[in-house]
Symmetry: C2
Subunit: 165 residues, 2 copies
Amino acid sequence: MAAKPRPSQRAVPVIGEDSRAGAEAARLDLGILEGHLGYFVRRLQVEIFQQLITALAPFNVRPAQFSVLVLIERNPGQPQAAIARSLNIERAALAKMLHELERRGWIQRLPSVDDGRSHALFLTGAGEDALTRIKALAQDHERRLERRLGARRYRELAALLKDFG
Amino acid sequence: MAAKPRPSQRAVPVIGEDSRAGAEAARLDLGILEGHLGYFVRRLQVEIFQQLITALAPFNVRPAQFSVLVLIERNPGQPQAAIARSLNIERAALAKMLHELERRGWIQRLPSVDDGRSHALFLTGAGEDALTRIKALAQDHERRLERRLGARRYRELAALLKDFG
DNA sequence: CGCGGATTGTTGTCAATGACAACATTTACA
DNA sequence: TGTAAATGTTGTCATTGACAACAATCCGCG
């Protein structure tokens, strides 16, 4: 059986193509993706995280680790399950992460006085020092993001998202 | 050497804790995370993707595959590199994804008439049929998202993000 | 008190993903 | 022409998320 008729490779003649050779590659038509909020949220999130990971690279800290450290600092003595619930991460994933943070000497787990099953989480002195510096790097990153988005868009986005959460 | 003095496990007496047993677990203080736009963008993105993956489960299609199909439909005959650039995914990752889509009989790759290195990408008839149904599922998902966010917040978020992109 | 169910922390596995490097082929340009 | 760049492909590596299973412990109820 013969192959189906080959569709024209010029059916859509590259709308808006820049005829100058060497120009930046033309962006394609996103079609229905333009109507999907998740597409844009995803792109923004990926860009923000890439830059944040770069910003935190001096301490070799991932965004998830950063958020865990912040929650322990602000909520000392809480058990792992409370941290995991508040950050929407699995207990299993948090347990592995905490092993690493403990290995670095940034946190300590003490047996809970209230509940024999749970561990009370605290930052160590070294953890507090490290987190202070890490938070400064994260703040720098946030300022860059604000400049990148424009102060007005940044402010409106933050208001919408916080109001929603 | 003695253990360092154990910090009080009641340093912060669980602000706003609900004294009723069995109530939903109290949310912890997010601290500086409240000032990081990326935290909220991430949470929204994860929620949207989880729901979208569920919505597309009948076709066993992932969001990335969906976006690739849409771009091929709207830009038939384009080479892989153009798709990859437009979606911010690696050529290597796209190549693997296209193998799977080709295996399902949804796309075909024809040798480009212009460039001996590249493949011109097209949907097959089956691919068009599948994508039509997949887009309908994605639209249902988008409507649910609009209800979840509230029509006004949805509209404002979409405007801000599109304007930015 | 004793028991069953729920919770906590842990370990292990599995699949999916992203980031890289390397490569052959082909094109573009100086 | 010859050198650099682009394209598609393969393979590897580390990371991640989602699950299941497990021991220890707590809770509620008879």
